[in-house]
């Protein structure tokens, strides 16, 4: 009897799985601008940590929203990353509004309907999408589905130590890779035993986790994918980019020398950060580093600029890698019309965006807020505003499998920069990498 009971349970489980797996898949948004003023409480999920100034500042924003829409109360819930949002959607208990901290998954969110298509709401509310910088289009929609709106953004650029520049007789930050290489050599010092005492700039994947393949692609203007959707990492552009990286690694005395130097630097988020202490003269980082330096190394004399680009790509100077937070209405949200009102407010209300930027030290995501005279940020933020507004700035390509292509390329690059791939074999190695990327994507689309 016991065996029959187990078999019956297993059979029932199979039936339940086959009948209940997944959801409908297709977004079924029927938008309208809500005029229903029945009191409602919206749950707002984000990965902000509860407590402290952040919670108070968010609450201030939600209180201001409530004053404008008195029937809507917003209840924020923190520590909810993309995986928590996915689990909630799949479990049928989604929040009313979700704020994703990274565009990595927006491709899947848009294509699967996990985030509702906002276009009907945008049309019904006559939202002017040109109020957002064009760079935001690279990470808030996928395959023509506008399933999110931006709320605060990041941009990456070059940080340089102005004292060290002056001592080396360098008056301007480098704008091209050639200039970056020259300045690096002028600013680098070696110890008598050949170890690195101070580095100019180190293009090492994994150094503080900021510079990586996205930065390399943006600098050299290398495409990630061909027009037919296949991987383009085996293009001549990428070979040139990797060749430059190797040239820099060789200049520093090889990968072991670099690893020894980097492993002796302080933690990225501590006052002993290598750039803070002057051990690294130039660094690639996001706009948030300005505030960190102000807190942790207030005496450091530094400036910011767009990151240098390849000489052949010099017309792209001023652009950079950007990204940001995304507001979406999860599938199954109980009050989508009211959720839209909140999303619209957070994404477009200039005073709200200015308030958040002044407190969170990120970048505002509308043209109006970018130009607001009420922005209260250090001068070093200015280049990042320009980078974000630059029409050539972008986030790496959005796909249905997140940043898989970037991870595979980065992992290959880790071996390349360590000297585990012979320079003469780079063409074949990159062909193999491109094939791996294409084959991995078949798990999404089929052979």
């Amino acid at each position: 009897m016991r065996a029959k009971l187990v078999i019956a349970i297993a059979a029932a489980a199979v039936l339940v799985v086959a009948c209940t797996s997944g959801g409908s898949g297709a977004p079924t948004t029927q938008a309208s601008v809500s005029i229903d003023t029945t009191p409602v409480t919206l749950s707002f999920w984000s990965d902000f940590s509860p407590g402290g100034d952040t919670e108070a500042q968010l609450q201030h924003v939600f209180d201001t929203f409530h004053a404008q829409y008195p029937w809507i109360t917003v209840k924020p819930v923190g520590n909810k990353d993309d995986q928590a949002i996915v689990a909630a959607i799949n479990g049928g208990v989604p929040p009313d509004v979700a704020l994703s901290f990274s565009p990595d998954h927006i491709g899947k969110f848009c294509s699967s309907g996990a985030f509702n298509d906002l276009q009907p709401y945008i049309d019904a509310s006559n939202v002017d999408m040109t109020q957002f910088p064009p760079s935001t289009q690279t990470y808030t929609q996928f395959d023509g589905i506008q399933c999110s709106l931006p709320m605060l953004a990041d941009a990456y650029g070059l940080y340089y130590n102005t004292d060290l520049f002056a001592a080396a007789g360098i008056s301007e930050p480098p704008a091209t890779i050639t200039q970056l290489t020259a300045d690096t050599k002028a600013l680098t010092e070696f110890n008598p035993d050949g170890s690195i005492k101070r580095a100019g700039y180190i293009p090492w994947n994994g150094f503080y986790g900021e510079w990586g393949m996205a930065a390399l692609a943006q600098s050299f203007g290398c495409p990630w994918f061909n027009e037919d959707g296949t991987s383009a990492v085996n293009s001549d552009c990428w070979q040139q980019a990797f060749a430059w990286q190797k040239e820099m690694v060789d200049f520093y005395g090889g990968p072991d020398n670099i690893v020894n130097f980097l492993s002796g630097l302080g933690d990225e988020w501590s006052p002993d950060n290598g750039f803070h202490t002057g051990q690294v003269a130039m660094m690639y980082d996001g706009e948030w580093r300005v505030d960190s330096i102000g807190d942790q190394a207030p005496k450091l004399s530094f400036a910011t600029a767009p990151f240098p680009v390849a000489d052949a790509n010099s017309d792209q100077y001023g652009s950079g890698v950007i990204g940001g937070n995304l507001l979406g209405i999860p599938k199954g949200a109980a009050h989508p019309d009211d959720s839209w009102l909140l999303i619209h407010y957070l994404a477009t209300d200039t005073p709200t965006l200015v308030y958040l930027v002044n407190n969170f030290k990120n970048l505002p995501t509308t043209n109006a807020s970018l130009e607001s005279p009420k922005l209260d940020l250090p001068d070093q933020f200015t280049p990042f505003f320009a980078i974000f507004a630059d029409p050539n700035s972008s986030f790496p390509p959005i796909t249905g499998s997140g940043n898989l292509y970037s991870d595979l390329t980065g992992t290959w690059n880790a071996k390349w920069q360590a000297g585990k791939v012979a320079a003469g074999d780079i063409g074949a190695a990159l062909d193999e990498l491109a094939q791996q990327i294409d084959e991995q994507s078949q798990l999404d689309t089929g052979p």
Partner: protein
């Protein structure tokens, strides 16, 4: 059955009926089966919490996972049947499947025996009567109470190549070029092993109990026969604790197949937000971390399910091999063995 006094009385009454229904000696066999036949529902009701939990939290997820392994499933959309595509891809095209397998096998082949040996030696030392024995046992056990994430982050700092205390100590004793630990692909897994050995306390405790359970008269008899310390350990202690070693081996192999937390945290801590899998250079990409990335970062849940079932099958096979071979080296004091 209700937990109220009325329900308790009902249970007691029912128990009394069952006991009263027990036949006198001689007729017990025939009467007991009649009692069992006439009361299956009581059995079912009492078993139901376990059965429901077993079905909901074990059987259903296993069957669901098996089904998804034959589908393209991204959690957010309905699964699409693809047959053996995921399994074919795993063995023929996945660029990091064999890297993950190799790293995991390293942890099993090297890590498990070293941990067992270290636990046994530590436990043996801690059986010898000495002053402060309880303090030493507590000191050895305490690290196993530290949460894995906190311990790993601590060790990444301790093993920082240039400024970490461990390498500073190594330089003090004359090793001028100590390992770069989590920054070097050759030393990253040994660093994880050192972390595991630091937290050996719970395993040591089990061995300690086994060692203290070895009958003293066997040691005395061996001593009388002229056996030295090593011979007593080899021919008395080891056989007597062989069941504990067997248990430790099985659980150690299973745990190593599922090795995840320390590797994932160490890799993230060493590389920040970079796009490198298993920093450095894939050396800390274990099977479970690759499975996790596939399922939760890349939305390849169907493929991750296939990886999970291969992991289950291999783990089961290895466990069965260990059990099969145990007859040759596991000694049970009662003279019994694995019930077949």
């Amino acid at each position: 059955m209700s937990a109220t006094p009325a329900g308790g009385a009902a249970i007691a009454s029912r128990a009394g009926e069952i006991v009263g229904a027990l036949p006198p000696r001689g007729s017990r066999r025939r009467k007991r089966s009649r009692v069992a036949r006439t009361d299956p529902w009581t059995v079912a009701i009492l078993m139901s919490p376990w059965v429901i939990g077993f079905a909901l939290f074990l059987i259903y997820p296993m069957v669901a996972s098996l089904f998804y392994s034959f589908t393209r499933y991204d959690i957010l959309s309905p699964p699409q049947w693809v047959g053996l595509l995921n399994y074919r891809y795993m063995f023929t095209k996945d660029p990091y499947f064999w890297t993950a397998v190799g790293n995991t096998v390293w942890m099993i082949v090297l890590g498990v025996p070293i941990k067992v040996l270290f636990s046994v030696v530590t436990a043996v030392i801690l059986t010898r009567p000495r002053k402060g024995l309880r303090v030493y046992r507590t000191m050895v056990f305490l690290p196993s109470m530290v949460p894995a994430v906190a311990a790993t982050l601590g060790f990444v700092f301790l093993m920082s190549p240039k400024n970490g205390p461990i390498n500073q100590l190594l330089r003090l004793i004359g090793i001028q070029h100590p390992p770069a630990w989590f920054f070097n692909p050759t030393w990253s897994k040994p660093a994880l092993l050192v972390l595991a050995l630091w937290g050996i306390g719970d395993g040591m405790l089990v061995y300690l109990a086994g060692l203290l359970d070895v009958p003293r008269h066997l040691h005395e008899a061996a001593s009388i026969e002229g056996a030295g310390a090593w011979q007593r350990f080899r021919y008395v202690t080891l056989p007597m604790i062989s069941p504990v070693i067997f248990f430790s081996l099985v659980t150690g192999v299973i745990d190593s197949f599922q090795y995840f937390t320390e590797a994932y945290v160490a890799s993230s801590a060493a590389s920040g937000q970079s796009d490198i899998l298993g920093t450095p250079q894939g050396s800390t990409l274990f099977y479970s971390t690759w499975l996790y990335k596939q399922g939760f970062s890349y939305f390849h849940m169907g493929y991750a399910s296939a990886l999970a079932w291969i992991l289950f099958a291999v783990t089961m096979a290895c466990t069965l091999v260990i059990i099969k071979t145990s007859n040759r080296w596991v000694f049970y004091q009662g003279g019994g063995g694995i019930i077949r």
